[in-house]
Assembly symmetry: C2
Homo-oligomer: 635 residues x 2
């Protein structure tokens, strides 16, 4: 990488590692399996290892050139299976980047845009597909008993440093008391590659991993694994540079996005997608009907199977890992939405409803479903079966239309599985708390335990500006109950397009929901990071508290607002209670006192502490650091 190039990146891509953190790689037994994790070095000498979605962007030793794309870590695995072939691929046409039929005419002659496209074209790889009659899905391999490198990678990744976690959590009484309630999930103590294979074979887990996305660090979506989250990004109104679009991705995975959906519409969506997929270590999902609609100038009724099919192949060749397909919106179900408070709110759902009604024909995605399966299995694109009739308000939750579609999605799941195509099911939307469980139960029942991938759900409707919170409540609950992946909601939901900070707010809210769910389910080791945090709190290791948090920078900035000095980061009190009221300090003092007596606190008490009170009082002075120490105390 030349110097100006590097400078440009430093200016535009967020590459700073998290504080006290370094990237480590845990090797597997299969070639090329090196699983990245983030290791946090605490100031007391302990290390805590956490799941890391951020890819090489947080590794300062990684050389990244977004004009070349990330290192294709999976290429050799795909090649070694010997079941794919490279081919010329579909020719890129002007229409792929939209605008030809758009209201504002064609701008393909714009030289600046042409330059951007040239950059994207340079990134595009020669596509691979299954050899004729072949099937390259992870499910297909799993069902033949094959443990792929992807599966081993995932097993190591899901385990994390499980042994450390167990030793850290330790205490038997505590573990018995905090034992999770898995509500039907069966999470083993140790995730083995064979377990990953079995779950994928059974259809209970999905590994979104297009053979044309070799840059991917494999991950799994399933209720017997950690709960995942998805973040959505879209292209800029005016595509400005590859850096800007890639930075959206980098930013999303930095804060914890496990997958990213590219929901771009309008112009340059093919170009943008090249940039994103080539630089993404996480699975990329799309809703192909959006691009197909662009190709027909936004006129839903002009959509056709031919155009849609061509779009699927276009995106599969680019390396998209999962497609939202609204094949469950059936003509007969559309009238069920007529009495709703908010009708059809899924974009894809409404586009297809419009098409169905206009032509008075069955949804062409439903009638061509097996043909879609053929495409999916040639590239290993996973289905995310869209819930086009999801409720758009609490008033419409769990209604006839929603559940009718869910049953259709269950039928389609069976068909996809006959083709060994990996499948997950999208879910609502807007659901009051007391109706969430029914959603999960209906999904498990009708969709045969295929992973559930829900948007929220929002538990209420009156919080515009705060829907990330209104929905994080529902997300945490449905995550506990069995949802495998939570699609984030930002504070701008229902109001406008999220900016950089909104994306971060949405992701953090959803990391909270997913983590709360993991703890409730009793995911082994999930609590270890919390325990390390609690210990750091009790021991006044402020910097460790920041480092262990989901957003170290914000935590430190908040602490700085009241106690900005560096010395405060070592202080044995905080600004909330001040030195006089610090309850944690009092507790520690009590323990120290007991320890000085060479006995446990309980025993010290039992021996009768009345006669000790004078001595205890004598040590009391140090509990109460004068207030001005807030600014003068040194480490």
């Amino acid at each position: 990488m030349n110097a100006p190039d590097k400078l440009q990146q430093l200016l535009s891509l967020t590459r700073k590692p998290f504080p006290q953190s370094r990237k480590v790689h845990v090797p597997g037994t299969q070639d090329g399996v090196h699983v990245p994790m983030r290791e946090i070095a605490l100031t007391n000498g302990e290390t805590v290892t956490v799941y890391d979605t951020s890819g090489p962007y947080t590794d300062p030793t990684a050389h990244i050139n977004i004009r070349q794309g990330l290192k294709p870590v999976r290429s050799e695995w795909v090649a070694a299976r010997g079941d794919t072939e490279a081919y010329t691929g579909r020719s890129r046409v002007a229409l792929d980047d939209g605008g030809k039929h758009g209201p504002n005419g064609e701008d393909m002659a714009d030289t600046r845009i042409e330059a951007l496209r040239a950059e994207a074209a340079a990134l595009q790889r020669t596509p691979l597909r299954a050899k004729p009659g072949g099937n390259v899905t992870q499910m297909h391999y799993a069902r033949q008993g094959i443990v792929t490198p992807e599966m081993e990678f995932i097993a190591i990744r899901e385990n994390g440093k499980r042994e450390w976690m167990r030793a850290y959590l330790g205490d038997a009484e505590r573990e018995a008391r905090l034992k999770g309630n898995p509500l039907g999930a069966r999470i083993p103590d140790i995730i083995t590659p064979e377990f990953v294979r079995d779950e994928v074979a059974r259809g209970r887990a999905v590994i979104p991993a297009n053979i044309n996305h070799p840059e991917l660090e494999p991950m799994v979506i399933g209720r017997n694994f950690g709960v995942k989250i998805n973040a959505n990004i879209g292209n800029s109104a005016v595509t400005s540079s590859i850096e800007e679009e890639v930075e959206k991705l980098v930013w999303s995975i930095r804060w914890g996005g496990d997958t990213v959906m590219d929901l771009s519409t309008g112009k340059n969506i093919h170009t943008t997608r090249d940039w994103i997929v080539r630089n993404s270590p996480v699975p990329i999902g799309t809703v192909p009907i959006y691009q197909a609609l662009e190709k027909v100038g936004g006129v839903a009724e002009d959509l056709s199977w031919a155009i849609f099919r061509d779009t699927l192949i276009e995106q599969a060749e680019q390396g998209v890992d999962y497609f939202t397909i609204h094949a469950g919106v059936r003509l007969a179900q559309i009238p069920m939405t007529a009495k709703r408070r908010t009708g059809i709110v899924s974009r894809g759902g409404s586009i297809l409803a419009k098409w169905c009604i206009t032509h008075h024909k069955e949804n062409f995605l439903y009638t061509h479903f097996e043909e879609i399966c053929e495409i999916m299995k040639a590239y290993d694109v996973s289905f995310s079966l869209g819930d086009g009739l999801r409720p758009g308000s609490a008033a419409d939750a769990n209604d006839e239309a929603q559940f009718a579609e869910l049953r259709t999605l269950g039928e389609l799941t069976r068909i996809a599985w006959q083709h060994d195509v990996q499948t997950m099911i999208e879910g609502p939307g807007h659901v009051p708390m007391h109706l969430i469980q029914a959603n999960m139960e209906e999904q498990l029942k009708h969709c045969h335990e295929a992973p559930f991938y829900t948007l929220g759900p929002l538990t209420m409707d009156i919080a515009p500006g705060y829907d990330h919170i209104a929905s994080a409540i529902g997300a945490a609950m449905i995550g506990w109950m069995g949802t495998a992946m939570l699609c984030y909601v930002t504070p701008k939901e229902h109001l406008g397009l999220p900016d950089r900070d909104d994306v971060k707010q949405g992701i953090i809210a959803y990391k909270i929901a997913a983590h709360a769910a993991d703890i409730a389910k009793g995911h082994p080791g999930a609590r270890a990071r919390d325990d390390a945090m609690s210990k750091a709190r009790f021991e006044f290791r402020w910097r460790d508290q920041f480092a262990l948090g989901l957003d170290p920078q914000t935590a430190e900035a908040y602490h700085d607002e009241t106690l900005p000095k560096d010395s405060s980061k070592e202080a044995h009190f905080c600004s909330m209670c001040g030195p006089k009221f610090c309850s944690m300090k009092i507790t520690q003092d009590v323990r120290d006192y007991a320890a000085n007596q060479g006995v446990s606190e309980g025993e010290a008490l039992a021996r009768g502490m009345a006669q000790k009170s004078a001595e205890f009082k004598a040590t009391g002075g140090e509990f109460y650091v004068p207030l001005d120490a807030l600014t003068t105390k040194k480490a």
Copy 2:
């Protein structure tokens, strides 16, 4: 009020009404019962009436002079009962405002501070107390079958415009589908004054209403009423002005604080409290041990019953409505905390633990509990029995210490009830989702359905900077399960002192949690505002969406970021999907089309729409407003 005075207030107190809103008062049958509500006028001619905690501050017609305090709406009710007497009251001493024994010496001679105190002294009323041997608690009246004006006020307030709500919600299928799951709550269709009385008599509800706080607009805390929230405020490090301290209160109730706890420490806490209580339309709670500790120079072991008792009377005379009393921290339970990850984290709990251990004596609040009851019933101060041994981390949740204290709180509840003293129980803290239900069940069982008042609970520990979200998840769940009031948590929890925006963020997160709980419980009418919001969404009434939200200003600002023009507030699309993709618009178009045929959408479909497709297509043009209409479309 003179002109400079008014100007000063306008500069410092937030008095602006909410958009499209006006204050209305619903009269009761008893003298002086005029219940304030907020009426939102929608642009379609409908009005929505919502519960209003903001007091006269959002009423532009109200004359407010914070140096005189609010209008004493309850004075005549208290007087009419004829069971109280005015008396000289305890003399204010310098120590009440702290500092005498403080580390930095005494500053009582400071003339500026003296001037502030003089302002506060001017506010202080002549205290009232029960006539000798009397009892002036709402519970005492309730148990004699008396429906007080406070109870009638509350019944009207809790009902809101129930008839309107029912008519609005309307649809029978929808109501059957969305029927709440009350999990043991028994919320009647209409709240009558007699129901309020019965709940208070039974101890299942608390009306915090000190006879020395006549400015109060009565409210109720109980699981068969709407879930309430509390916000905490504290004095400024350097008390600057009455306006600044009162504004904290006004700001908290503006966004929905149902009660406010004044957790001031250090100097000038008596003065600050005068300012707050005299200007508060909501109940004020305190933790008297904080002030008592100030009086003994911060040395916990120097605390005594005499000093504590004097502090209770001081605060009762000022009009504090409920006291957090950590009488449940017993000597024998303290060793149970030794093995905890985070020991004792309650400030009050640690102060008392320190006292108990130092003296090796039983907690003096426990041994003097009946004497405390005598004070409470002379003023009608309600107990909020503190959970001094609440867990400070997920690791310590639901442990032996926590539940041992809970059982003690149950015993104390019975004693308080023998004195007809109103009582609620404070709860955790830090509890993973799957352990929340056990907390609620243990509380109901051991505390005989006395209202539960919980802090959060936080469902995890790794979200510093976002603990309002981590805890809103737990708060919504425990609210659904039966908690009557939720104590808010701000984004600064564990990190620093909340500023103005943090307070707002905490309150909004908790309004969301409380509202989600009301909906899940099936609180009659709770969903009406959501339904009105959903209808406004579907009909693109943007201004109504803002007005119906919990924070209209933020919602509108977010909308403005993408579509700033006034004309966009009338646009039949939004920036998320743009005009091409608007699913709500497509749904409406489908319905309009069906309506034009003079049939329902379902019937139109049933008649076979294939032959209509040509006509339908012809109308399609208008669905797709050109993109530049985003900036040029007029209302």
